[in-house]
């Protein structure tokens, strides 16, 4: 039996298993445990939740690897973590830690204004945010295995995200892979 790991089917497959579930932002192992017990399908390990990142200003980076590891050891559900847009070294560190998904996220300060990470080059799957179909297709072309909507990070304004999803934003249509 020939076995292949980190194929497109396994990357996309995990996203398919997460459907209909809640992925919860957590900043400590205790919070991750609470999220798991409450029925979250995955946790997003963050140093600060987006609203705090926004309030504090400055440069928001990848979270402390020790904190991510503590969360990975605390729960059995998948653990995701964020890397800055275009910051492939942060992504390499997260892959070496063994996280289950990397979020190349606009919540953190972008490391590159123009270019995103070449996500095909990684074994770990990526999720990216998008505002419209064009953005979604560019991210998938770069290797993203899951897409999410982009709101205004940390504001709690869900109208933005909802509008994208319901297809009321110009250029957004129902998309099936």
């Amino acid at each position: 039996m020939t076995v292949e790991t980190s194929t497109w089917a396994t990357k996309k497959g995990l996203a398919q298993m997460l459907k209909g579930g809640v992925i919860m932002d957590v900043v400590t192992a205790d919070q991750a445990k609470i999220a798991e017990d409450a029925g979250a399908v995955a946790v997003m390990a963050l140093e600060r939740v987006p609203s705090d990142i926004r309030a504090m200003g400055g440069v928001a980076r990848m979270s402390d690897p020790a904190m991510i590891e503590a969360i990975m050891n605390a729960v059995t559900i998948p653990v995701m973590a964020k890397a800055r847009i275009g910051h492939f070294v942060e992504a390499q560190i997260l892959e070496a830690l063994g996280v289950d998904y990397i979020d190349e996220s606009e919540v953190l300060t972008p490391a590159d204004e123009a270019h995103h990470i070449d996500k095909h080059a990684f074994k770990v799957p990526f999720v990216c945010g998008c505002r419209n179909l064009g953005e979604a297709i560019r991210r998938i072309n770069e290797g993203a295995a899951m897409m999410r909507t982009k709101g205004e990070a940390g504001t709690g304004n869900v109208v933005e995200a909802g509008t994208r999803w319901c297809g009321r934003s110009p250029g957004t249509v129902a998309y099936r892979s």
């Binding site: 039996m1 020939t2 076995v3 292949e4 790991t5 980190s6 194929t7 089917a9 396994t10 497959g13 995990l14 398919q16 298993m17 997460l18 459907k19 209909g20 579930g21 809640v22 798991e36 409450a38 029925g39 979250a40 399908v41 995955a42 990975m72 059995t76 559900i77 998948p78 892959e95 063994g98 996280v99 289950d100 998904y101 074994k123 770990v124 799957p125």
Partner: protein, 212 residues
Amino acid sequence: MKIGVLAVQGAFAEHVATLDAIGVEGVEVRLPSDLEGIGGLILPGGESTAQRRLIDRWGLREPILDLARSGAPIFGTCAGMILLSHEILDGDEPVFPLLDVSVRRNAFGRQLDSFEGSVAVPILGDQVVHGVFIRAPIVERVGEGVDVLARLDDGRIVAVRERNVIATAFHPELAGETRFHRLLTTMAAEHDDPGEGSGRRHHPTRRTGLAR
């Protein structure tokens, strides 16, 4: 013939699409009333910790156990296999203890260890099954009366059957594999209407050459 697919969380749409591909109507099951009139049930992949909460939240546990006890076929993939087991080795309580097996969750490791490869499943014929294993469980103990349907090359058990309940650690619905769904539908049809000559016909999974 309608086959239900538990649709509280996870990859239920893929199972409905697979049923559609073989011309069988798939019914998404979210409430106990959705179980009326279905001949069999699929428990899809997803996160078993999340699914177990939703199963209890919507009062689905007893109605599904009643359906299984009536003899209707049940098919669980990945998280579905975990939900069907007598024992879950890292401590969680069983949900539908219909398979006398012990399973270990995430037995292969994290997502980076997820893999795909071919698996021999003798009851489905000589053509191997392409198995997609995503943070997959493994069966570490089988009781008496449990048939082993497939093993990996190293001997680890990845598909089992006990009476009317089948479970796989991998995802046939992600690989365009329809034979498990055909088998389930055949079993559901025979349960629903044994029909003339059924006494002479072997149960569809009672074939020699099980991978034990």
